[in-house]
Symmetry: C2
Subunit: 209 residues, 2 copies
């Protein structure tokens, strides 16, 4: 089914998943494209078009079955599986990630953190232990690690990423301020640039005035 | 000039700004669209098309003047001005933001943090003081505050945002896990959803296999 869905729709899926999750929590069993469009500040026709990609479970006069749609989108996003995560760089951003329970609830539990600062070795944050970066190799060999989050300075990011890829951890959630790119097509990277988002805000401020 | 630039180009500007900034730091004075396209993993024609929006300073056989282009894009993004920022919610994400010097260097100094936890009142992080949320109003009246970053739980985000908008702080950098939207068209919001980015990574992992 994945093959047929456009990238533009894929990029909107996490947002649908979030809104449908909120509806589920509120006990909503079904919703029309019109009601959903109001909540999502979108149009009913956009929503119908997007959700048509997931087969015929939107029915005239009934609307969408919230739970079914939520679960189907979850499967497309791979959220029906658990993705074990480690965090390289045990600074404030790493702490914010391990303290935020939602990532674990979504299926992304953090197994461990790694740092180069000896003062942090052995400490735990929200029950997650900080290891020396020297222990990365043995940890990855002994545990199934699916994703590595990089929350370290730009200048160390490629070294850490190359090491991880060499150890077989080919999914990188990168917060370092550099676009990581790899020749190995198996490596998937999601670059998060907080400063880009701040610049976008600044642009909108400037063009408003 | 802004009016003529498409939203798609605008969204790419922060990335150009970052790459040109790196080139400046390395002492590069000029660069061809071909060289830049290799660095940015883009195409020379895309780059020429995008940068044509900024007038005729790419010259055949010369390339682009890095400093000029960097400064022009900075102006479009509003980075030639200082945007004073406060952070509401003094948790780990707030600490990560105030400890990251680059935001200040880009022109977004943090003036203060606010929280509801009395244990934090009066503490400073990287020289930035944490105030009681009760002091928000007087602080905003006595200081020019351009942007409020919200790093607080979802259920408190709208209350805080409405209070800020009422006080005239109409630019919100929102990390709470809800899409903030306002009827007031003067309000600009940049929503950062880290879980959406993690889901996007998960989708790419799932579709790779």
């Amino acid at each position: 089914m994945n093959e047929q869905i456009s990238q533009a729709v894929i990029r909107r899926l996490p947002r649908y998943y979030r809104y449908l999750g909120d509806l589920l929590m509120q006990g909503t069993e079904r919703i029309s494209s019109n009601e959903l469009s109001v909540k999502m500040n979108s149009t009913a026709s956009q929503i119908r078009q997007d959700l048509n990609n997931f087969g015929g479970f939107g029915q005239q006069g009934y609307g969408y079955n919230v739970k079914f749609l939520h679960d189907e989108i979850g499967k497309i996003l791979g959220l029906d599986k658990v993705h074990n995560m480690i965090i390289v760089g045990a600074g404030n951003l790493a702490k914010a990630i391990v303290r935020y329970d939602k990532f674990e609830r979504l299926g992304f539990p953090t197994l461990a953190m790694f740092d180069v600062n000896p003062e942090l070795f052995g400490k735990t944050i929200n029950g997650i232990k900080v290891y020396s970066l020297d222990e990365l190799e043995s940890f990855v060999k002994e545990n199934r690690v699916d994703i590595a989050a990089l929350t370290l300075p730009k200048q160390n990011a490629y070294d850490a990423a190359n090491k991880l890829v060499g150890l077989g951890v080919k999914s990188i959630w990168n917060f370092a301020h550099v676009d990581l790119e790899f020749e190995d097509e198996d490596v998937v990277v999601e670059n998060v640039h907080l400063s880009d988002s701040l610049m976008q805000l600044s642009y909108n401020i400037t063009s408003r005035k």
